[in-house]
Each structure stands twice: as structure tokens, then as C-alpha cells.
């Protein structure tokens, strides 16, 4: 059997861990896995899927960039009898057989709620927060929306200062984060919606010497983030289980191939990593 | 050629000035030209001859001064304006498009067209045929009118520029050193051409450093010096020695512009 995995890019650890999880599961099942990297170009994903359809692969796993734009390709695959499983980004009313992953809006709400509770408990219920986002990323926008909703619902006195665009690139995020801090000397907390943004945020807090008075919240652990958690100024990081997602997707395809039924939504839970539970993730960054 | 006393001018330029940064290239210069007249415009290098003629062809916009064509005041803001008044010029730097072929350069801006389904396509066959005829008339040897001009020899390039300007029924033809790169037979052809067009009533301005040519085709000579008019002579009233002295600005012995036998050339 040959399965194809169409991913977004390979410059974030997240996607590579999906690839690894999927590869392990495919090896275990004795299947061949081919991976295509769209390099952030939405239409390249359609191109690749169409190519795989003409080649008649046995199943496609898709990490979509443009969740609406991939629908025609998914439909074409379905027509050709090739099952498609979406990972990470759900396809609205899509023809994919299943979705594996995290509900980003929901997880955004979770970390938002965690944040609001933290502000209530440790900052007397008032905080000013700056955001480092990636405007061109659909799921990161969802993470921000969920976060904002939960914060608003919490009723704490939290002011949203500026949102800056890190463009999902570390050095851009770093420069933007530094300028964000200069612009808002009274900022007390930071929220980074993805891995490059978090790396940029962590470096910026260090370089501006603000480790004493800014608390960082964000997504996707890295070594620097772990060190920040140890030092106490990185408070909480949402850690997904991308390898688990990749593995689950391949296993679902294998099951389908054998004629078994699968769930339409396969949830892979996230963990909010804090000082308490950071030790179990330390091993990833050696 | 018309009577010189006649007051109908084809071209009258008065008070033309042009300054480039620190250099006053043209300083209150005048020029007039009658129908069918051939005017020789001479002067030292950098005297402003090219700049003055570019003003008349619309390629340079002067800081001050007026131009009249056939008694009507005109104001040229681009070469297209001058072309529509039938002023054509052979530029000293030739102004050819290196990557366009010979025929294309000759017809640049005036390509013949034919309509196919109402769409005006280039009539390439006609362009090449007419270009070939034109080159033959000027006695120019170019193997193929489809060659790109970038690889032609200096004289071949100059011939193309001349062919272009002369072929479209100008009423004023300005030639800025047209024969500089030409061999002896081609020079003769250009001088013949000037005589022929002026006989048809075309007014010609000839800029050249080959002073002996002036005496073969010109009716009148105008001398410039450092951006100013310094002298004007009817051809009958002057000689090479006189013109040399006017150009240099002092008494000057130019062996290269003297009568040949003084140079030890056997007749």
C-alpha cells in the first residue's frame, strides 16, 4: 500500500513530527509513505493531490493550508475512491473520511482560560497582553480567536495591546516582538500562537531584559521555551502531539483498507505544559 | 533653392538657451532655414551643435527660446511632436535598437501594417522589401535585412540611421555627422542624397567635421563656439581656411583641411 501525506511546510517542528509519527506507523503496517511539502502555497497542495490521484495511491493524509481551497481535490479523491484524512485543520463540510487532530479554537479557549485563571490568581486580575501571531495562518488565527473569547468570558480586567505579525518566521517574529515590547513598556504578558512566534518571543524577552516582568504563554515547546519554563517566566505552553496525529491518521487509513470502520473525528488531545509537568517533555530536546 | 532674400522661412529658432548643471550648453542661439536650403552647422567639439539640433527635433526641451516652423510658433515636448511637423533627424549616437533587425530599425515608429480580420499586423514582407530597396539606393552592402543591428559594422549602422531619416518625406532633415563612419563611396551617396532632397524642397541641416563636404552641398554655413552663434557665411563668400579659423576661434594652420597638393599628395 502507498499512502501520501501532503503537508504545509517543513520549517516548523510540528509538521516534521507529524511526518515522523506517520512514517513510524506506516513502517509498522508495512506500507509505503510518500510526503509532499507545499511550502506554504495553497494551490500546490491541490496540484500534489491531483498528481497522487492520477497515480492512484491508496490514501491521502492532508494538512491543509486553505481549508476551503482543498475541497475540490478532496472531492476528486473521493470520486476516484481514494480516502482522504485531514490532520490538524478541519475541512468545513469536506468530503474527507475523517479528521484527526486538535480543535484549535477549543484549545485556544483552553489556554485562554488557563491564562485568565493565572491572571486572577497571580496578577490580581489585571494584565496587559501583547500577541505575536501569524496572520497568514488559518489555524493560528483560530488559536487567537479562541484565546480572546475565553479571556473575554472570564471577566478579568485584561487589556489586549497590539497584535504583531511574526509571519511564522523566527527572525521576523523576534524583531516584531522586540518592537512590541518597546511600544508597550507596561505590557505584562505575551501570547504567541505558534512555534516560530514563541521562539521569537522568548528571545525577545531575554534580549530586552524583561524576564522579570513579562510572562509568556504560547504554543509548541522548544528547548528555549523549556528553559523559560524552568526559569519561571514562561508560564504555560500548549503542547500538541503531532506525532500522535500522524500515527493516528495512518492507522485509520490502514483500518479503512482492511474494510474496518473509523470514527469521523479522531481527537488527539493537547497538554498545557507548565512547571509541574515539563519534565515529561524534556526528553524531546536533548 | 530659394532666393536668400526671400522672407519665408521653413524654420526659425530664436533665443534658444539650455543649461546642464554648471554648463551653459546653449546661450541665446538662433538659427533659420529656408525651404530647400542646405545649412552647414559647424563648430568645435562640445560647441553645442548636437544639442541645438536636438532642440529642433524635440529630443531636448530648451530652457528658453522659440521655434517657428513655416511661420507658426511650435512647442515640441517630445520627438513625436517634431515628427508630426515632418522634422527628421539622424542622431550622432545613431539611436538604433540593437536587438531589433535592420528592417525594423529603418521603419521604427512607422511600421507598415496590413489588416487581417481587422487586426493591424505588421507587414513584415513589405518592410523587408522596402528596406532592401532603400539600402540599395544608398549603396549600402548589408547581407540580410533580418540581421540584428548589434553586430553590424560602424558604417553599416550609420547607413541605417540615415536611411531611416531620409525615407519618410521630411520637410526638415537634420543630419548630425552622418558621414563620420562612412567609406568613400557611401559618403558620395549621402552627399548625393542631400542634393537630391534639397532639390525637392527639403530643408537640410548638415553637421559635419569634414569641412570639404560643406563646400559640395551647402548653401550657407553657421559657426558655433562654446554654445553661441559666432558667424554665418554664404558658401560663395568663404573658404575652408576661413571656416577653420572661425571654428578654432583664431588663425589656425590645419594641414588636414588644406588643399591636398600642399600636403605632398600627388594629383
Amino acid at each position: 500500500d502507498t499512502f501520501a501525506l501532503v503537508t504545509i511546510n517543513q520549517q516548523a517542528l510540528f509538521f516534521n513530527q507529524i511526518n515522523e509519527g506517520a512514517q513510524k506507523a506506516a513502517d509498522a503496517a508495512g506500507a509505503k509513505l510518500v510526503i509532499f511539502n507545499a511550502n506554504n502555497v495553497p494551490s500546490a497542495q491541490n496540484d500534489a493531490m491531483e498528481n497522487y490521484i492520477t497515480q492512484k495511491v491508496d490514501g491521502i493524509i492532508l494538512v491543509a493550508i486553505d481549508v476551503n481551497g482543498v475541497k475540490p481535490a478532496i472531492t476528486a479523491a473521493k470520486t476516484a475512491g481514494i480516502p482522504v484524512i485531514a490532520i490538524d485543520a478541519q475541512i468545513p463540510e469536506g468530503d474527507n473520511v475523517a479528521f484527526v487532530g486538535v480543535d484549535n479554537t477549543k484549545a485556544g479557549e483552553d489556554i485562554g482560560k488557563f491564562y485568565a485563571d493565572y491572571v486572577k490568581a497571580n496578577m490580581a486580575g489585571t494584565a496587559k497582553i501583547g500577541v505575536i501571531g501569524a496572520l497568514n495562518s488559518f489555524i493560528q488565527n483560530q488559536r487567537l480567536d479562541g484565546f480572546k473569547k475565553a479571556v473575554a468570558d472570564s471577566g478579568q480586567k485584561i487589556t489586549f495591546l497590539d497584535t504583531v505579525d511574526g509571519q511564522n518566521v523566527q527572525d521576523v517574529a523576534l524583531t516584531a516582538a522586540e518592537n512590541l515590547m518597546t511600544a508597550n513598556p507596561d505590557m505584562t504578558t505575551l501570547y504567541a500562537t505558534g512555534e516560530p512566534a514563541l521562539v521569537g518571543a522568548v528571545s525577545a524577552v531575554t534580549s530586552q531584559g524583561r524576564t522579570g516582568d513579562v510572562k509568556v504563554f504560547g504554543w509548541d515547546l522548544t528547548k528555549q521555551a523549556v528553559e523559560g519554563i524552568d526559569a519561571g517566566w514562561v508560564t504555560a505552553v500548549v503542547q500538541q502531539d503531532p506525532a500522535g496525529e500522524g500515527k493516528a491518521a495512518v492507522e485509520a487509513l490502514v483500518k479503512l483498507k482492511k474494510g474496518e470502520k473509523i470514527e469521523p473525528i479522531i481527537n488527539v488531545p493537547v497538554t498545557i505544559v507548565t512547571k509541574e509537568n515539563v519534565d515529561q517533555f524534556r526528553g524531546m530536546f536533548k | 533653392m530659394n532666393d536668400i532674400g526671400n522672407e519665408t522661412y521653413r524654420v526659425r529658432m530664436t533665443g534658444i538657451s539650455k543649461r546642464y548643471n554648471t554648463i551653459q550648453t546653449l546661450d541665446n542661439v538662433s538659427l533659420s532655414l529656408r525651404p530647400g536650403e542646405v545649412l552647414g552647422l559647424v563648430g568645435d567639439n562640445g560647441a553645442g551643435k548636437s544639442t541645438l539640433s536636438k532642440v529642433l527635433s524635440g529630443a531636448v526641451i530648451p530652457d528658453a527660446g522659440t521655434i517657428e516652423i513655416d511661420g507658426k510658433v511650435v512647442s515640441f515636448s517630445s520627438p513625436a511632436d517634431a515628427r508630426s511637423e515632418h522634422v527628421e533627424m539622424v542622431y550622432q549616437d545613431l539611436s538604433l535598437c540593437d536587438t531589433v533587425d535592420v528592417a525594423g530599425n529603418i521603419f521604427l515608429g512607422r511600421e507598415p501594417r496590413r489588416r487581417i480580420l481587422g487586426v493591424p499586423f505588421l507587414d513584415k514582407k513589405r518592410m523587408h522589401d522596402e528596406a532592401r530597396a532603400m539600402l540599395d539606393r544608398l549603396g549600402i552592402v548589408i547581407a540580410d535585412t533580418g540581421l540584428k543591428v548589434e553586430n553590424l559594422s560602424g558604417g553599416q549602422r550609420q547607413s541605417i540611421a540615415i536611411g531611416r531619416a531620409a525615407s519618410f518625406e521630411p520637410s526638415v532633415l537634420i543630419m548630425d555627422e552622418p558621414t563620420a563612419a562612412l567609406a568613400v563611396a557611401e559618403v558620395e551617396a549621402v552627399l548625393d542624397l542631400i542634393r537630391a532632397v534639397s532639390a525637392r524642397g527639403v530643408s537640410v541641416i548638415l553637421i559635419t567635421h569634414r569641412l570639404q563636404d560643406l563646400f559640395l552641398v551647402c548653401d550657407r554655413i553657421q559657426v558655433m563656439y562654446e554654445g553661441r552663434n559666432v558667424a554665418e557665411r554664404r558658401i560663395e563668400d568663404t573658404s575652408i581656411e576661413d571656416v577653420v579659423n572661425l571654428i578654432v576661434g583664431r588663425k589656425f594652420q590645419a594641414r588636414s583641411a588644406r588643399r591636398s597638393e600642399d600636403n605632398g599628395v600627388r594629383p
Binding site: 492512484k56 481551497g69 | 521604427l108
Partner: protein, 312 residues
């Protein structure tokens, strides 16, 4: 150079095709070949227009952004209930208007094209981002609009047919009309063309109108094919387009352009992308292999055809 280059890229294209026919079974099948032309229709259309721009010695970096803006606006206006023919006309006009504005600054105000269109790239994608808020906007799959991107006509995908028509028209305009002549002339010696009495500024502005309109057409096709408008569409598209044009033999210094070369250049890029996927190349190696193939092949061709291209 143009002629030598066309031969060179043609041979290169054939070699690449033969290579992939040998390695993968699926490559040389009708569905796959039709896939390739359908996928590369936006690239072909914009590259044809970009050939004009680059031949004048200019550049248009904003085509990817225009594509994104048009894709999102098509989706938005369709969602708002505008009839699809109106949407198409409005979007093409929008493209022309964007091109006219950029062309005005370049041709009449003489600001370097690189700066104007780089500013355009930023502003136009910014507007697309602002409109969508970073989300992607769906187009109803039932809308006749999607025909443009998905339907087949006489056994050929509609986008490929559109590209074919655009290419034929572009070829004729480039080689058989005054406008095309002046485009080449401006790239070779703009002052000479001006002195010949041609309105070089208008001609220059026109090429930017062409490229932006072509980008708009590409945006429409893409939105129709994907059934969605996303402000992410066409990221890095400008480099891909310019690469196709330059690979085809058009000189970035202007004055030498070839549409046949551009088509071959664009198809070569598309075929390499397609072939490497079919050959199951690891994604880690894809960029390395793509770059190396292009460089080595161009190099070999330059060596073989050096004599023909220009000898000293």
C-alpha cells in the same frame, strides 16, 4: 541570444520529460499531462504577460499579490450574491486598474519598477489579508463560476484552453504588431524608440496593465479551481513566474524576449514539480534536486550552445 536559448530550453524540456517518462509510469499518461497543463495555466498566463514586462527592461513583483487579492475578492463578491459574469469582468477591470496605477508611477513618474511593484506587492496582499482577516472564503461548488477552473471542454480542461488562447494572442501581439515591436525596442534603447516618435510612456504603462490583468485572470482561475479565495494564494508566485520567463531565454536587461521560450520555461518548471512528486522524491530532497536539475541542465546547454549563442 534569444534563439539559442529557445533551442536550449526546448532540449532541456524534452530531456526532463524523457527522464520522468522513464522513471515513473504515471507521467506519460493523458490524465497526468492534462493535469500538468491545468495546474500550470495560471503560471503560463502570467508568464506570457511578464515576458512583455521583462522585455521592456522592467519587472512586476506584484503579480502574486494581485492574484491573491482577486481570488479573495471573487469569493467575497460571489458570496455577496453578485452574478458571476459581473464578478469576472469586475475582477479583470480591477487588475487593469492596479496595473495602470503601478504603470503610471513607473512610466510617467519614472520610479524604478522594482520599487513600485515591491510596494504594490506589500500593499495589495495587505488589502487581501484585511478583507479576509486571514481566513479563507469559500465559493459555492454549485456556482457556474467554478466552471472556469474545473470544467472540461472537448476533452481539455477549461483553464488549459484559456491559457492556450492567451498564449496565442500574446505570441501574435509580441511578434506581429507595432506594440510588440516597441516593447522590444524600449528594452533595447528606450531613447531611440522615443526619438522615433513613439509614445514610450504609454507603451510602458500598457505592459504593467497587461501583467496585472493576467494576474487577475490567474486569480479567477485559481479561485474557481480551488473553490475558495485565500489571502495566502500565490505566495512567491512572482519569483516562479520570473524564473519561467528567464529560464525561457528572455533577458532581465530587456530588449530580448521570446514567448515560445517562456512557455517552455513554465512547462519545464511544472513538469519538474509534477515528476518529482510522481517519482516519490522525499520532500527533503525535492528543493535540492529541483535546483540542481535546473542549474546543471542550463549549464550543459550553455556549454553545448555557447558557439551558437555568441562567440567572441
Amino acid at each position: 541570444m534569444a534563439n539559442g536559448s529557445v533551442v536550449s530550453i526546448a532540449i532541456f524540456f524534452l530531456v526532463v520529460c524523457l527522464l520522468f517518462s522513464g522513471i515513473t509510469d504515471a507521467f506519460l499518461t493523458a490524465p497526468n499531462l492534462l493535469n500538468i497543463v491545468r495546474q500550470s495555466a495560471p503560471l503560463l498566463i502570467v508568464a506570457a504577460a511578464m515576458t512583455f514586462v521583462i522585455t521592456t527592461g522592467g519587472i512586476d513583483l506584484s503579480v502574486g499579490s494581485v492574484l491573491a487579492l482577486v481570488a479573495t475578492l471573487s469569493a467575497v463578491t460571489l458570496q455577496a450574491g453578485l452574478p458571476w459574469p459581473l464578478v469576472i469582468i469586475a475582477m479583470l477591470l480591477l487588475g487593469a486598474a492596479v496595473g495602470a496605477i503601478q504603470g503610471f508611477f513607473i512610466a510617467y513618474e519614472r520610479i524604478p519598477a522594482f520599487i513600485v511593484t515591491l510596494a504594490g506587492l506589500s500593499v495589495i496582499r495587505g488589502i487581501a489579508l484585511l478583507i479576509t482577516g486571514g481566513y479563507s472564503i469559500p465559493v459555492e461548488a454549485t456556482s457556474p463560476f467554478t466552471v472556469i477552473g474545473r470544467a472540461w471542454f472537448l476533452g481539455v480542461p477549461v483553464p488549459a484552453l484559456i491559457a492556450l488562447v492567451v498564449l496565442v494572442v500574446a505570441y501574435l501581439v509580441f511578434n506581429e504588431t507595432r506594440f510588440g515591436r516597441y516593447v522590444t525596442g524600449i528594452g533595447a534603447n528606450a531613447e531611440a524608440v522615443r526619438r522615433a516618435g513613439v509614445d514610450t510612456r504609454l507603451t510602458t504603462m500598457m505592459v504593467y496593465i497587461l501583467s496585472s490583468t493576467a494576474a487577475a485572470a490567474a486569480g479567477i482561475i485559481l479561485a474557481a479551481r480551488l473553490g475558495s479565495g485565500s489571502s495566502n494564494a500565490g505566495q512567491g508566485f512572482e519569483l516562479e513566474v520570473i524564473a519561467a520567463v528567464v529560464l525561457g531565454g528572455t533577458s532581465l536587461f530587456g530588449g530580448r524576449g521570446t514567448l515560445v521560450g517562456t512557455v517552455l520555461g513554465a512547462l519545464t518548471v511544472a513538469v519538474i514539480g509534477n515528476g518529482l512528486i510522481l517519482a516519490h522524491m522525499s520532500p527533503f530532497f525535492t528543493p535540492i534536486v529541483t535546483g540542481t536539475i535546473i542549474l546543471v541542465a542550463i549549464w550543459l546547454n550553455f556549454r553545448l550552445f555557447r558557439g551558437a549563442i555568441r562567440s567572441r
